[in-house]
Symmetry: C2
């Protein structure tokens, strides 16, 4: 958001535009997460952000587009790739396990994941949008670094570990897992990721 | 339900009682799953089942109790234990992987899991009840057969695989995983379960 705002000011746009856009996105994020996708309306977001509803259509085109724009990922995909793949293939599983355990263990990075999960679980239309966002912004960039046979399938098995841990540990709060330490999670996940990444379980495409 | 009904008739209770109880549970299941935990009321269930609301309190005591009674598990815990642990410790991971892949791959057994997930994700009060049901009916019975250090933690890591796969494959519908075959899932999960069950990743309690 910010970069885009700065670029626009650089091109001589009105100075208030990027702030307005950011205010709309912030309000959208708040309402989508509080009301769910279905009960959130462009009109309600406009009211909450104190702007003309037509501005929302002007900036974002549709409710779907505003939703995918306002989705927060728990961690920037480029940063994920740098941390996970930066030390070469023999360190990918260990780095991914450490990163995932820290993302899961941090309330701040869990929050946007829980919002996505809630949207996907409760509303099929939101589930489609969540799928698009996760696939385009997280899974495909990851998979392009995974290599081997069927990298998207391998990356999506890793993603399923993240989601499952988050639900069992933080949504349902199953006890022994809720108390497991970050170190324990890392040790639990590393061989699993090694297997998902390089094991011979996939059927060649 | 059925056993209880029969036992009661055996003790000379009115013949309609077990049918009434079953009708209430069926209606409760329907409403909890359609409306969510929060918007479902005892009065609404009574109306749907065409019974006096006081009967619900008489049979179940509270909305919480009716919810936990009406929860369906995708598969009977005793059957899980028989299938998974029946052939001895060296076959547990393979049998668990095969069972889990088949549960995940079957729309009929996914349905109750999705209902639990939806309840847990959207409402903290329901999440508490889901935790209680899963812990008492599934996790503790499983863990008592797992053995080793911290069996509940090991069992809950396996549960997280099930939940994660279900969400990524069937709620969000991430593509390569949604198309993965039952055999592929089994091959993916077997070494993972072996590690969760017998690996040395846990910190001794």
């Amino acid at each position: 958001m910010k970069t885009q705002g700065v670029a626009r000011r650089g091109r001589g746009r009105p100075p208030g535009e990027s702030q307005t856009r950011e205010a709309i996105v912030a309000e959208a994020r708040r309402q989508f997460s509080e009301l769910g996708y279905g009960r959130t309306t462009l009109r309600g977001i406009a009211r909450g952000a104190s702007v003309d509803p037509r501005l929302l259509l002007h900036y974002f085109g549709s409710k779907q587009e505003l939703f995918t724009t306002s989705v927060e990922l728990p961690i920037d995909p480029e940063r994920v790739i740098e941390v996970v793949f930066g030390e070469g293939p023999d360190h990918v599983a260990a780095n991914a396990a450490r990163l995932l355990a820290s993302v899961i263990d941090d309330p701040e990075s869990r929050r946007p994941m829980l919002a996505l999960l809630r949207a996907a679980v409760t509303e099929p239309e939101a589930a489609n949008l969540v799928r698009r966002v996760l696939t385009e912004r997280m899974l495909l960039p990851m998979a392009s670094h995974v290599g081997g046979d069927r990298p998207e399938l391998r990356a999506s098995m890793m993603a399923s570990s993240l989601v499952g841990l988050m639900v069992v540990r933080h949504v349902v709060g199953i006890e022994p897992l809720a108390r497991a330490s970050r170190e324990e999670l890392t040790r639990a996940l590393e061989p699993v990721f090694e297997h998902y990444l390089r094991g011979d379980w996939v059927t060649p495409a």
